[in-house]
């Protein structure tokens, strides 16, 4: 473990902002700010339930564009992950989040924040399989990053 304390402060500050964002949506719209649920609801799009989902998506992507301009350190200089790994990862993340009804935001933040039993279990499961995957991928199969 060799992480500068500035990283931990940044992590905490970013986490607090994520908390503000997700509770803002709950207080104002009464909705769960789960990324995979909101975006997944656009696939396929339904005419009367699209605009707020697209607005959320625009905010997220637009916020990322702002980061690129004002805080480019947010992104790595390069990503060397092989294409096959990215495809497998994307398919599993997309399919798994929809099947499990949520991802890191919906279950991991909003769900745990509500102390939902389903979300506590879901989060424990994806943290465990995530850790197991990194262990096998990095230490047994020798993945580079």
């Amino acid at each position: 473990m060799n992480v500068p304390s500035s990283d931990l402060f940044a992590a905490l500050a970013g986490g607090l902002l994520i908390g503000v964002a997700t509770t803002f949506m709950m207080i104002f719209s009464g909705r769960i700010a789960g990324v995979s649920g909101i975006v997944g609801g656009l696939i396929p799009p339904r005419r009367h339930d699209m605009d707020w989902r697209l607005a959320f998506l625009s905010g997220l992507v637009g916020g990322g564009a702002l980061l690129r301009v004002f805080y480019p350190e947010a992104f790595p200089a390069a990503l060397t992950t092989p294409t096959a790994t990215l495809v497998a990862a994307g398919l599993l993340v997309g399919y798994g989040a929809r099947l499990g009804n949520g991802c890191t935001s919906g279950h991991g933040v909003c769900g745990i924040g509500r102390m939902s039993r389903r979300s506590l279990v879901a989060t424990a499961v994806f943290l465990s399989t995530g850790m197991l995957t990194v262990f096998v991928h990095r230490h047994l199969l020798g993945a580079a990053s």
Binding site: I38, V39, W52, L67, G94, G100
Partner: protein
């Protein structure tokens, strides 16, 4: 304000929070999941910070509101059952998250970062979501 405005602002603050926190660095996410290597605990602070705010607001403010400021009612999931799709879906999600170091929020936040590999991941993620929609469309869920 409209639901659209609320959603846009939520997405914007969310993205900035993700960027500041380190979640848009796939290697850092994998370092967090790598408990047998040089473990990076940062992302526990991300989740800790976010969950603390949510816990406080959800338990102190939401109960004092009759309804959301813009909406008609709070849409809060009430299910408590631990069914197979929840467990299997979360397990698969975790494998994908570990493989790429990316989950949906940070990946979408990185869409315009200029990193082409992110677009490959996003295309596959949308494909995975579409596969799920297709499956539920062809085989409607049987509640048992």
């Amino acid at each position: 304000m409209s639901h659209r405005g609320v959603a846009f602002i939520t997405g914007l603050i969310f993205a900035i929070g993700l960027g500041i926190s380190g979640m848009t660095q796939p290697t850092k996410v994998r370092d967090f999941l790598d408990i047998s290597g040089a473990w990076d605990p940062s992302l526990a602070f991300v989740m800790g910070g976010a969950v603390t705010v949510y816990l406080l607001v959800f338990h102190l403010i939401i109960p004092r509101l009759d309804r959301p400021i813009v909406g008609e009612r709070f849409g809060i999931p009430s299910r408590r059952d631990l069914d197979r799709p929840l467990l299997l879906g979360s397990a698969l999600f975790g494998v994908g998250w570990g493989l790429g170091g990316l989950c949906p929020g940070p990946a979408l936040t990185s869409a315009l970062s200029g990193l082409t590999p992110i677009l490959v991941f996003l295309a596959a993620m949308v494909g995975g979501m579409a596969l799920h929609s297709l499956k539920t469309h062809l085989m409607p869920i049987k509640r048992d």
